[in-house]
Symmetry: D2
Subunit: 194 residues, 4 copies
């Protein structure tokens, strides 16, 4: 049985920054992935989203797009570690490469590399009604690019944005000390949901 | 297909306070519920945890314990609304009633009514190795009761505590205004995990 | 002796939203107000910032601009309650009215009413080198308007932005329950500080 | 003119952990220090609280107690850097050393070294009515020790506890990335205030 919410330590990650477990759980729950979903993971980083998505969609397919070569190797290594064969890794900087892919049911955007608008334009063409886009952003600019796009395309999307700040209580002797993780914005966009 | 993460608005809730969607998602993901799990939902409130747990465990069984009569009715109404037949509602104040239940695989504690220690004592007897307890707490006292118990029973448990603060961006005309939800502590305790 | 950090309950506030004590303390500390400072309080609301600023600048002068008539009355009432004679209240929607004022040493912007850029343009003309602008924002759009302005005027300003989220532990019987206040962005801009 | 809220970078700090600027500002504002206050800084660390307190109390006196030798040197160095002569540094682990000091008007407790109760017992004897204790805590145990003490001494104190979580927007090229600081509990206790 595969649970949503793999521990961070279970991933191979090198020096590539990785979204933390709690944010992965929330973003993936909000993406409404089904067992046969086609999922894009854009700016896939270590592949932690792709791994969790591939487990939620064992009869589906995950397309992981990542521009950084070191990160691409990590996605490959993580896919092997978790014995997942339904992840296709593309060493591409989105939106490049998206056009040729089968239409997605869910799109995860963790890194947009300053191409948020172009990415959303292509995704909008390909995403069916009821499909979900979930953007995780650590910068206010990425957040705003996504929100501004959704506000400009009200006819196509409903969006819902949250900010999540998790602190972990680390054990220091007989004390539990709160250590903050960086706050993350999660924007969930549903196509034609109105 | 049933997703983890039902929208708050989908529950009937009257005036009973309800844990918010993001906290439910995280607590349930951390509880490692499987399709045939036996789950206790202690201090079940509106039953929102029970409903989500019952969907994750379609071949299992959820036992919802709740002392407040109005809340008991809401759990019943929500179980009917979501057409779930694997929820047994007990109008009891835990630990009362726990003894007679089949052993659990996962225990959710949302309200302990000042009986945290007694509840954990009984649960400890009944929970198998590898079983999970997930406590959600809004007060620092409940958090400490749980942490102190776990520190005093190091031979039995490993615990991991986080605090989660979610803000929702509410749309006010062309602006998105951050509205805070109360921060919640989530303590995940795994029996014999070392 | 007048302390920075008047309790929220000490202000008359009607139904006008008011920035909370902790945010007032931080914003005012970051504004570097001296005893003879000229201060603008733009979008003054209940006047809570103006009152605290007027106490920090007993030989200076505070100009409170506010478009809402009910709020203007509250500022007046609060100035009387705290016996402050160095607050000039202007029933105006900024930037209207700013031109005629003496040059400021510190500018507090709590509400910009969609005129952030025009307000900052005029303030930039009037603010001397070393002068401070402190913007408090509850919407991501106001935050971005301020940040974008500062990034576009790098030759004039250095800015520093934080987000602050305060929770108050409310006493409920023998428990202390965390109640969240909305997170606020505070942007501190110093003219010619490089 | 000395402002409350010295920049973190202005302090010499070696490897000694230091409370961040925003927390210092809030704790000091809540301590109601006057120009002639006697202030204790218990668990003084780098001395950042002592420095700010000494500037708020130019005719008063600050007693900095610190058990760690490296930290004691830093307090000395910071007092010299900020040219403050009203700080007495005691290389002691509180409550040791407190008995002999003149009665305080305000007591800052940043580190209690597991002696919270004894420290509060002695401080309670020496603090006059209307005096303030401000405890900053990063662990939930320190928070609870303080809150439990205050609840057990309701005849002597009123307390008010908050949790503050600050994130700083770091500039990364044309983006502003939210970096979290650890959440801190601040408990303000006023003697005989009822």
């Amino acid at each position: 049985m595969d649970f949503l919410g793999i521990e961070d330590e279970a991933f191979l990650r090198g020096k590539v920054p990785m979204t933390k477990q709690e944010i992965r759980i929330l973003a993936l729950a909000k993406a409404h992935i089904t067992p046969d979903s086609i999922v894009y993971d854009i700016g896939a980083g270590t592949g932690s989203f792709s791994i969790e998505a591939a487990r939620l969609a064992p009869q589906g397919q995950v397309y992981a797009l990542e521009k950084n070569a070191e990160a691409v190797s990590l996605i490959q290594a993580n896919a092997e570690k978790f014995q997942l064969e339904n992840i296709v890794i593309l060493h591409r900087e989105a939106p490049e490469g998206l056009e040729a892919l089968p239409n997605p049911d869910a799109v995860l955007i963790g890194g947009s590399g300053r191409h948020m608008e172009e990415i959303l334009d292509i995704v909008t063409e390909k995403l069916p009604e009821g499909g979900h886009i979930v953007v995780t952003a650590i910068t206010v600019q990425s957040l705003m690019q996504c929100i501004s796009y959704m506000r400009a395309h009200k006819g196509n999307y409903q969006y819902d944005a949250i900010q999540v700040q998790v602190s972990r209580l680390e054990k220091v002797g007989s004390y539990d000390m709160a250590k903050a993780l960086n706050p993350i914005f999660i924007v969930t966009c549903v196509k034609g949901a109105f």
